[in-house]
Subunit: 124 residues, 2 copies
DNA sequence: AAGCGTTATTCCCTTCGGTATATTACGCTA
DNA sequence: TAGCGTAATATACCGAAGGGAATAACGCTT
């Protein structure tokens, strides 16, 4: 689901390319962005922070920090977590989290369209 | 000249804010962006890389790297440099460099407009 | 009560971007 | 030729960010 939303690409090879990124700032700084959207999708897919982190080759520590940051900054949490219990626990993305994902991809898509429009204006 | 073109702000305090940045990629990666535009303006203002770097509290090394990167990636250099000579030398921004500055600020302005449009769509 | 797998937390290590410092090269001026 | 202020380059250092590993906490299951 969602193959190439990458915003960071090292080289372009040919002509100079207009590029950009978009994100949402909250009370503590970064609140939502590309990496966090992907992380939430992986949590939905795997049902746990541990597996989500592994699946995207991210340290659990980092993933947990991101989840914690989102939950702290949002009125309603994006991820609900269960420690202990059946299977040791798990993590679940809330409705609010799903809305955030959808909204961000919409923003992201708008940005891509904007960038291709700007690219046409490129003239050194 | 050009007071608040900063794209990086740590906190927003109030509501979540849609933010973003834009830059130009070239053969070696980043080719032009906010910091480089400001640097060129300072070089114009001061006539040397040393003074330009000092004026924006940037290490000379870093400033030189940026200038070198731009000159390597552009067909025609953005900065012409004189080592030794009257006053020890100096640096001068070329016409191509000035065009790049102008174009970037135009992109930057477009982006700001885009971001405020997106902000209006923000709904968690 | 023991076992299980996950969340939660701590500590240390490495990596890396940028800084600071020092030295050399340069070419006009006097 | 000596002096000057800059460009150019090399080296060492610092701090922040991220990673890895280890451990504790948790609560269902058996």
């Amino acid at each position: 689901m969602h193959e190439d939303k990458s915003t960071h690409q090292k080289k372009t090879g040919g002509m100079p390319t207009v590029r950009g990124r978009i994100w949402i700032d909250g009370p503590e700084g970064t609140f939502f962005g590309h990496g966090r959207a992907v992380l939430l999708e992986r949590i939905i897919e795997h049902g746990s922070i541990t597996k989500a982190a592994k699946s995207m080759d991210m340290a659990y520590r980092h993933a947990w920090d991101l989840v914690d940051s989102m939950n702290r900054q949002s009125k309603e949490p994006f991820v609900e977590v269960a420690t202990g219990g059946k299977g040791g626990g798990g993590a679940r993305v809330t409705k609010a989290g799903e809305r955030a994902i959808k909204m961000f991809w919409r923003f992201h898509k708008d940005l891509q369209a904007f960038l291709t429009r700007e690219q046409k204006k490129f003239k050194l």
